[in-house]
Symmetry: D2
Subunit: 363 residues, 4 copies
């Protein structure tokens, strides 16, 4: 168990608070012989680090990770890999005036009830800053996936009523476009619209949610396990552990309820001498097991709960109170943006685990 | 591990094939002292059993479960509870002519690739018949939940473009309405429309998908664990393990991307001397931990993959072939209907586990 | 979790009480394609079944197991295998007069305190009858091990001051000798002595403990995982879960404390073109990982707690009382005897799991 | 899973190599509200740190641990606790000349076979230095146990033919005596003999094994779970994960085979208004569940494998070679000595986990 761990064979355990000394991750079960350097981790961390443009949080964190164990001469050894990311830019004093208030949309109420204590400084353990540890782990997973030719991409599909439309879905091309965009959106026109929306939201002290689409290279057939360890179920869990996620769908998703079986069934066809399906309404799995098509899905995120507008709330002891974030609080007008690399990381973690597990089941 | 197990403290392991001798479940970790009789299990099984009306599969299975262990004088003892459900109505010979064909929308291709063998008779282990075991386990979970005053309900919310609209959401009342309806829909007008649609689909040899909404009584605050064992994440996984599920959302769900933070934040208010939230866009959790509101969510199901229309497909060795289900094959025009009690069962399983785990963390 | 489950990839869950309707096991994670019939299970069950000779319990149980799921045309499919073993010979009424007494050396006191209820009939879940389920699962594990050429043997090494001395340690030969002996002892002279001892103990209404030695074929190098999943640690746990086990040692065991490093270090040598060690004080593992030598160890068992002599005890409410087993109670003068096939089963389960896990770690 | 993790609810994950930058541990599942400071950890680390007297390794490591997460204002918060222990005194170059040799009694052969790579510097991950992480985690466990009044002690019981004899077994008193002794032995006369033996062994470049006895305060009744999560089985596993452990026994242990049931059965008696047993041959558990008596057991350790005497061995490619440790290599003449605090730590970890799990099972 352990609620701070994820994965079965390739298992990560993250630790650290938003305003603590450091955060990090231990990765257990990574096969030996994978190339891995600090640079691989730091390149990934850079994709979600704050402070880089006006559409994301201004907190200044270099997010430099250091590998403390588990590698020897630039390769993994099979031993657990500990990566540490020191925290730098935090001033905990500004949270003191609101430490007795329930923050709307935040977890301080539920943590307080559960644990009797809450490290309120920047959200403590419940802060989305924890996702830096996921991205560091995802970088290790991606190094493994590279050895088997699998890539994962994600992008902002929708904010408010602005929809991104993309033609190509080659994962490498897609990622190149995504990470050029300040708002993680490969459709330049949609990106323009989203930037305008977010500037307006910032001016109003408000925030937006978003939908992120993710896609993988075509997977080998056979990943995932029947019944309760279905690949799609583990992906769904992975996505819903990301702060602010409200929904996850694969393939046809919620639209499936409007389709007939004769439309929805993906017909088997030969493609380049391989069994494939003509369409991908399934989203890449049948019976919970990868079917040779790309995994394709979408995750919905709520708008950032931290807003600068005044809100009504209660004190921890239940009295009515006004809630106003301290001046200078740093937050994202749309936290979902920086969830793009987090979704890539979670997908990579699920896939590596499924690959390693799959080697066990088939004789 | 074990891909046929679900849950951590209250842990079920299901077994059995669609056309095998029997199916069943072992429940480990059920607290001692819970009232439990065969009748409790069989009342639950009756809600999903086939053969009762024209809108569900005509397979004739009494679905009678027998408790083989774990109770003493009508109460649980803390020992594992094994429940067995014998199979009766199966004629495996009619599947022989299609045993060499890939069934569109089905798992025989992926199972074959993964295991090198497929028990094709009625879908073998991948059949939705496995969900009978879940419902049996859910009945035990519900007996536990009764002792802490929690109920779970679910209903058909949408089929094609027909939406059910309900006023009341008291769980007991809701369930009463749902289980009176042949199509598990508490809105009589919508139910009429759905029945008409399904009759038409049957006539055409086609099928439909659906959306199911589920809701619980208001939960105690503090269930679920931070980061990777969030209550919502475990619910998402639970739902996506159900055959044919394509998506899951909680609270505002996919609509969240169209909302602003100032609209979406559920404000804390006092209600009958308890801290509650004014709205429930969160769907019952904050930071992955129950916040005192009902859990509210929706699951999307694809249309039944078994249809009577002829389809193009491939043989297991990749040659083009025509696929036609044998005459007399039994299937549901909308399998999602019978997923209603399955969703209740999965929700109950997740809640019991969270309750038992929660007692560990707080000193 | 689940305290009735054992193993990680190849994971068993046992269920059933001594005097319930049936007992059994679900095996999850068995690879597909392994030959498996009821006969394989029943041949193994016969080795520990009661009622066959004067040195073991006279309870008359045919111990006939039936495979209910997970096989197709005589081979495993990768789906969970449920095996059921119905109970026949039990008369629960004779336990009624002692149901309010704490049985010396038995678990009814601790179960009562833990669960508030105890199924006292024949020891309920805490009865060594549960080990029938282990032996059934072990038979499946052995079918798998056969495919990789590994065998497991065990025998009675010591009862009181009688020591068995054996020359050969070829596992197949050893087993042949062991299972010819009514007291599971391949040394005929020692066996004679043990039989005499046990007859005397029976006459006195008393019982004996024993030490069992177990040995495997030379294993492939690399099984087991570093630090907390060492092969030897998992074997130690496996053995200590067997009712009445009091100790476990591997290789040199407790004698190691009397040796010097220069004596104890097993030197590496080439043997038939393979790296082996000259001696096997290590008992088959180095750093928790199999080193190419046989696993060799010993398990100590306490004397059967059920004796016919009168004993002093307390009632469940703490009053002094006399304890006398009901006339006609069936028990073994040395339960350790029938632990021989149980130790083989547990060893096989640990090995299969290690083999399946090992395939995951090496790239 | 994860072979570098131990425990279920209170779960530790250790990381780090002997000659890497640092080592450490993440503790997940520690209840909130436990007092915890760096000093608590460092006091425990001091009990096993090297360099303090002539009977243990001369490596100079301050073993200073720093808590990086999981506490707020000197108390645990329920969030994962990461403790880091930087390495200081290591010179990896001296291991270069022997990097191609199989070290007798060491894990480099098995690691090499398993992973294809071995961080040979000081034994890498397989070094007993990893146990520093366990002791750090044990210190956190001990802080928890303090809140429920439970203590754990251990001491050197036997080296070669020297046996320690102790009268009192009050755990606090025992520990005071143990940690005053340079050889962790509370019997001054035996301690003298052991010191003489170890000086002689050092002079000869040789080493010794030992037996350690451990004991706890009387436990509450009901800890541990039936069948496969027995408290004694989890203790056995815990002990056998310690480097160099060759055997574990509880209560009567291996002597049980020489006893009769009428001698071995611990009779229930009232003691100060509580149900206790007259003797403790059981070693503190019945049916795997704590029975209200102290846990009492012994662990056997092999002699240190690192000796200064020349030995025959093979190269990694199988050629015969002479093995001689580089001059200045640091090792313990009897590593078992420093296993005393490690055994205390492992026992504490098992007990905390059992306590937290127990709160789940009883309604």
């Amino acid at each position: 168990m352990g609620s701070n761990s994820f994965g079965t064979i390739f298992r990560i355990t993250t630790w650290g608070e938003s305003h603590g000394k450091a955060l990090g991750v231990v990765i257990d079960g990574c096969p030996a012989g994978i190339e891995l350097h600090d640079d691989d981790v730091n390149a990934a961390l850079a994709l979600r680090s704050p402070g880089r443009n006006p559409y994301i949080s201004p907190r200044k964190e270099p997010d430099h990770g250091e590998i403390l164990s588990g590698t020897f001469r630039g390769k993994t050894t099979g031993a657990p890999i500990c990566i540490i990311i020191p925290n730098h830019d935090f001033d905990t004093s500004k949270y003191d005036p609101i430490s007795h208030l329930l923050r709307p949309g935040h977890a301080n109420y539920t943590y307080l009830e559960k644990y009797g204590v809450f490290d309120y400084r920047g959200g403590g353990r419940s802060s989305a800053r924890e996702t830096a540890s996921r991205v560091a782990a995802g970088a290790v997973a991606a190094q493994f996936l590279k050895t088997v030719g699998i890539q994962v991409g994600a992008y902002i599909k929708q904010v408010a009523n602005i929809h991104a439309i993309i033609d190509c879905m080659d994962v490498a091309e897609l990622r190149a476009l995504v990470y050029q965009s300040p708002v993680y959106c490969p459709d330049p026109q949609a990106a323009e619209g989203i930037m305008a929306l977010l500037e307006e939201a910032k001016a109003q002290g408000d925030s937006y949610g978003a939908i992120i689409e993710f896609i993988t290279s075509p997977l080998p057939v056979g990943l995932g396990d029947p019944i309760y360890e279905k690949l799609n179920a583990n992906l769904a869990k992975a996505m819903m552990t990301i702060p602010a996620a409200k929904g996850i769908e694969l393939g046809s998703g919620f639209k499936a309820c409007e389709m007939k079986g004769s439309e929805h069934n993906d017909l088997f066809v030969m493609d380049d001498n391989q069994i494939k399906t003509k369409t991908n309404y399934a989203g890449g799995t049948l019976g919970g097991i990868s079917d040779g098509m790309p995994i394709l899905g979408r995750v919905a995120f709520k708008p950032t709960s931290s807003i600068s507008k005044p809100q009504k709330t209660l004190t921890v002891s239940g009295e009515e109170a006004d809630f106003l974030l301290p001046a200078g609080s740093r937050h994202d007008p749309c936290t979902a943006l920086r969830a793009v690399p987090v979704i890539e990381a979670m997908t990579a973690l699920v896939l590596v685990d499924a690959i390693l597990l799959n080697r066990c089941v088939k004789l």
